[in-house]
Symmetry: C2
Subunit: 148 residues, 2 copies
Amino acid sequence: MLQPFDDNYFMKKAFQQAEMAYEKAEIPVGAIITHGNQIIAQAHNLTEQLTDVTAHAEMQAITAAANYIGGKYLHDCTLYVTLEPCQMCAGALYWSQISKIVFAAEDAKRGYRSMQAKLHPKTKVEFGIMEEEAAQLIKDFFLEKRKF
Amino acid sequence: MLQPFDDNYFMKKAFQQAEMAYEKAEIPVGAIITHGNQIIAQAHNLTEQLTDVTAHAEMQAITAAANYIGGKYLHDCTLYVTLEPCQMCAGALYWSQISKIVFAAEDAKRGYRSMQAKLHPKTKVEFGIMEEEAAQLIKDFFLEKRKF
């Protein structure tokens, strides 16, 4: 049976955002936030273009989703992001009390888990969907960057 | 001898920002960022007005300072903030590689130290300047809030 609005579907949408970051010479990370089966925010990393370390995909998506909802808290919302969030984004997600986070590739060095950052106790986490594709996109980015 | 541009001077400026937050019914936290003896960014908490958990004083100040400098990194810059940064703000400060952080009041519950968030190894930290005034302002805010 077809399940068009499943985790794979939404992670593909986040991956498309990551590809948009890649095209702009940004570290390719993309994020979307859903509420029910509706995408209420989508964003990609813009730290270089905006010369702003806070412009991670997740941060922009949190701001956009809260704006859409008209409230600070992202209850009943899910974040799909192509890379494990850093401690800044984990901190923002903590304050948002988001219901669920799904990330693709792990970030062993700067991910929130190795940095020991805390998520909200209400937040469920899943990972590994499209892990290889998301990790490969980032590897390709840095390989290409080294050529110049 | 007069030392007009010392830590006390700049923390008073951050405190004035916190008072502006108080007047807007925001949790009263203020921040400024200096480069040399120049204030290059000032901001106060706007999470309620913007319905955005990411709108902490520090986050806005980081964005504004990077915009002023024209680069992502806040080398040779100091953040003065009236409350110990949370893990989100610590994470943003980590990415910014800011040279120094001075905070007034400690946040035993949600401060970056108790949350085990990491600052950049290059970042020096001082705290305790105007600690009582900054803590009292926050206490006053919550006491007043409970009345309504």
